[in-house]
């Protein structure tokens, strides 16, 4: 009996098939050419024939890229940064829109996307707890075997450094304007934003 239920569930899942908007529309909405969109879509479709990525798949992908440590927490935050409509699944349009911002967007757009990533509860402010969560997630990806040895308060120190730099009025939270301002003052950050331009 349990077997038939499972098959029915599977059948239901396969029916959730999402088809993206037309190629022309996506080309107009993003900064990619038709060719690039085709290449992106082919990869996407191969991985997810149903047309959507869910969080589990995302975590698995990340686990393969960072086999040393535990990438699931960071993948979780990243997934929610991609899933702008908070539906629990990332469609091709979301995927391509985010990539367009990250790779071909203006400096402002990229920084705003990063701010959105750090702002876990999407309230427009980054506080220390949110930053701690993100930084801890990143350190989790390093795994156990690192040099030098990871200490308990390493993430906290990192967050303190970050806040000292970003929080201009020292009120304990970082707003979007403070964030943009501080980042634009830092030459290293500005330079590195160009780094990933040609990832595609």
């Amino acid at each position: 009996m349990a077997g038939t239920d499972k098959i029915e569930d599977e059948l239901e899942m396969t029916m959730v098939c999402h088809r993206p908007e037309g190629l022309e529309q996506l080309e107009a909405q993003t900064n990619f050419t038709k060719r690039e969109l085709q290449v992106l879509y082919r990869g996407f479709k191969n991985e997810c024939p149903s047309g959507v990525v869910n969080e589990e798949t995302f975590k698995q992908i990340y686990a393969q890229f960072f086999p040393h440590g535990d990438a699931s927490t960071y993948a979780h935050y990243l997934f929610h940064a991609f899933d702008t409509t908070q539906t629990g699944s990332v469609k091709f349009e979301d995927f391509v829109t985010a990539l367009s911002i990250l790779l071909r967007g203006t400096v402002h757009e990229k920084l705003r996307w990063t701010f959105n990533l750090y702002d876990i509860n999407k309230d427009g402010y980054i506080n220390k707890e949110e930053m701690m969560d993100i930084v801890k997630a990143i350190y989790d990806m390093m795994g156990k075997y690192t040099y030098p040895v990871l200490k308990e308060d390493t993430p906290r120190q990192h967050v303190d450094v970050f806040f000292q730099k970003m929080d201009k009025n020292k009120d304990g939270i970082v707003t979007l304007d403070e964030f943009l301002e501080s980042c634009q003052e830092d030459d290293n950050i500005m330079r590195s934003l160009q780094l990933f331009q040609n990832v595609m």
Partner: protein, 665 residues
């Protein structure tokens, strides 16, 4: 929209002329028809095999990949065809669906592969035609069951790998369930088995009449009455062991309620209870009859063997699963018995001194005859009786023979399933080990790459190791990504060996306090730009302080760079360095100022990301295998940027940083 009606739409619209006289309002204008090119032939290239079909054929099902605009994502403008990198044999079936409206299931293909193709082309499995639907469902169900079994075996069979920190209860339970995990468990297993056998044999031998040593008047006594004490002691010992085992299992069970209700524990209880009841029941005449009955239950101890024997468990499970067949067998037999008993009774009624005194009495004859036993204690004497008796025996054979094959096939299926599960569990360990090995391969690839000096400045003019140069584009990008993470967190990936070495180094006596005092200094706010990586500054300081501490490989690289000793980044040099720590330490002391001035900067990989990209836009669109990974890799490269990655940028612009660090001294 239902299948195939697209063809009839022009007809229905033309026939709308029939509404014109009736229409009370003017009809809406027709939708603007896109430049009707008439019907055209589309070319679909599936892995080199060209399929050509009318555009209309594909448009029949607009909610599939080929029927919608989704196929434009696969259109290659250069060759004017749609290219799909999928199985051409399977595509045949998909295309036939568009042509005929029925989706057929290929018999020789794996059902999973077929499902994946359907998912890719956006076809729902319900579209499989009636002719193939049953077979499709059966095969799918079989597959699903087998996969479920696999998962169960994976989850259940943890094998000897015990989770760390498991309590005594968990360990005890595991020892009970899998006796092969430890020697003690195995010993316990065999001891209980031995005692079960002893107990059963004692029960049997108790009743054998044994003669006394002296030839007294041959009063045959059963052994149990001759040696009551011996048998009682043996019984007590067995029951004590069984009680102990039961209590231990109860203690160790993860869910006591479930354990209490399980069949095996019930058997245990039934096996030992008669003894205890017998202890408390007084030995008077009234109750001794009941007492004797209780002793019968002792024979249930033999069922305890089912824990030791898998075949017995399979038999029990088969009987449970064939309950309906057994029920049918019983029911039909009962019907036949009643019918024939009645007939035989009335047939033999007239005879004198007949055994067939009543219908229930005739039941015994019918049963003995139908099962072809034929004891001969009751025999019909009239001719009618004999005729009906023979009919009875013939029909008996038939009625019993019918349900038996069903039971046998059930048993065979369950038995084979069990065998498969056992084999799979045995292979599980090997499988897991191999998977772990494969995983560690990717993990070690990056460390190997670092070891081979892949992170050194390529402008040094030295020959890089072949393995560094000949990495695939995917590997290069992946290593760059890992490198970015290292820079973000200011920690490097190492392997277990180095990690434990470092741990040992840190805990060296006397040096510890100094190193911790250095490392516990809070990083100053302005130091971000001046020292590219605060951790690295500390590392330098620690190295200077602990001159006898064991030096890790990263520092070896550092020292190499400083002293200008550009050894070829081959592994043997590394090991030779490790073997002679003192030389390098002397080096360290001499070039102390040198160390302070220059930071060892693992520079980015030899090929910049720009060069390593496959030329996608200009090319034919036939992406290499790495593009698929890099499309997702592209996604993953992008995010780690940001202020946290400021350390990263400093590493990538070595010249500027070197100047800065020289200034900071």
């Amino acid at each position: 929209m239902a299948a195939g009606v697209a063809t009839w739409l022009p007809f229905a619209r033309a026939a709308a002329v029939g509404w014109l006289p009736l229409a009370q309002q003017p009809l809406p204008p027709a939708p603007g028809v896109k430049a009707s090119r008439g019907d055209e032939v589309l070319v679909v290239n599936v892995s080199g095999r060209r399929f050509e079909t009318w555009k209309n054929t594909l448009d029949r099902y607009p909610d599939t990949l080929l029927g919608s605009s989704e196929k434009e994502f696969f259109y290659d403008a250069d060759s004017g065809e749609y290219f799909f990198d999928r199985d051409p044999d399977m595509f045949r079936h998909v295309l036939n669906f568009y042509r005929t409206g029925r989706l057929h299931c290929p018999r020789q293909e794996c059902i999973q592969a077929f499902d994946e193709e359907l998912a890719f082309y956006g076809l729902v499995p319900e579209l499989v035609g009636d002719c193939c639907l049953e077979e499709y469902r059966d095969r799918k169900k079989e597959n699903a069951e087998r996969l479920a079994e696999d998962e169960e075996a994976e989850q259940a069979g943890d094998g000897p790998i015990l989770p760390a920190g498991s309590s005594l209860r968990q360990r005890l339970w595991r020892a009970f369930e899998n006796p092969h995990t430890s020697t003690a468990a195995l010993v316990f297993y065999y001891v209980t088995g031995f005692f079960i056998a002893v107990s059963v044999i004692a029960n049997v031998v108790e009743t054998i009449p044994c003669r006394g040593p002296t030839r007294r008047p041959p009063r045959e006594q059963p052994c149990g009455d001759r040696f009551p004490l011996a048998f009682f002691c043996m019984d007590t010992a067995c029951v004590l062991i069984f009680t102990g085992e039961y209590l231990l299992r109860l203690f160790a069970a993860p869910s006591r309620c479930r354990f209490l209700r399980s069949v095996m524990s019930l058997i245990d209880v039934v096996a030992i209870l008669p003894y205890y009841i017998g202890l408390f029941v007084p030995k008077n005449e009234d109750v001794s009859g009941a007492f004797v009955t209780l002793r019968v239950f002792r024979v249930f101890r033999i069922f305890k063997f089912s824990r030791h024997s898998q075949g017995l468990r399979i038999l029990g499970y088969t009987l449970k699963s064939c309950a309906s067949e057994l029920g049918f067998l019983l029911f039909s037999l009962t019907m036949a018995i009643i019918i024939f008993a009645t007939v035989m009774f009335y047939a033999e009624k007239g005879t004198n001194k007949t055994n067939f005194t009543s219908i229930p009495a005739a039941f015994w004859y019918t049963i003995v005859t139908m099962t072809t036993l034929g004891y001969g204690d009751m025999v019909p004497s009239t001719i009618a009786g004999k005729i009906f008796g023979s009919i009875c025996s013939l029909s008996g054979v038939l009625v019993i023979a019918l349900p038996v094959p069903v039971i046998v096939s059930n048993f065979s299926r369950i038995y084979h399933q069990n065998q498969r599960a056992d084999k799979r569990r045995a292979q599980q360990k090997v499988r897991l080990a191999r998977i772990r090995l494969a995983k560690s391969g990717t993990t070690n690839a990056f460390l190997q790459y670092k070891q081979n000096g892949g992170l050194e400045d390529s402008g040094s003019g030295e020959e890089q190791a072949l393995c560094v140069r000949n990495r695939s584009a995917f590997e290069q990008q992946h290593h760059h990504l890992l490198h970015c993470l290292e820079k973000t967190t200011c920690h490097e990936f190492t392997d277990e060996l180095t990690f434990s070495e470092t741990l040992g180094a840190v805990s060296l006596g006397g040096r510890t306090s100094r190193s911790t005092s250095v490392s516990s200094q809070p990083v100053g706010p302005g130091s971000l730009l001046s020292s590219c990586c605060p951790r690295r500054a500390k590392r330098r300081a620690i190295r200077l302080a602990n001159s006898t501490a064991s030096v890790s490989r990263g520092s070896m690289q550092e020292l190499d760079t400083l002293a200008g000793l550009r050894r070829s980044p081959a592994p043997q040099s590394r090991s030779s360095l490790n073997a002679k720590p003192h030389d390098s330490l002397d080096l360290n002391c001499e070039s102390r100022d040198f160390v302070a001035a220059i930071i060892s900067i693992p520079t980015p990989p030899a090929n910049t990301p720009d060069e390593s990209q496959p030329s996608s836009p200009g090319g034919s669109g036939r992406a290499s295998s790495t593009v698929r990974n890099s499309s997702l890799a592209g996604l993953l490269h992008a995010p780690p940027l940001g202020p946290l990655g400021s350390h990263l940028t400093s590493e990538l612009w070595p010249k500027k940083e070197r100047t800065l660090c020289l200034l900071s001294g």
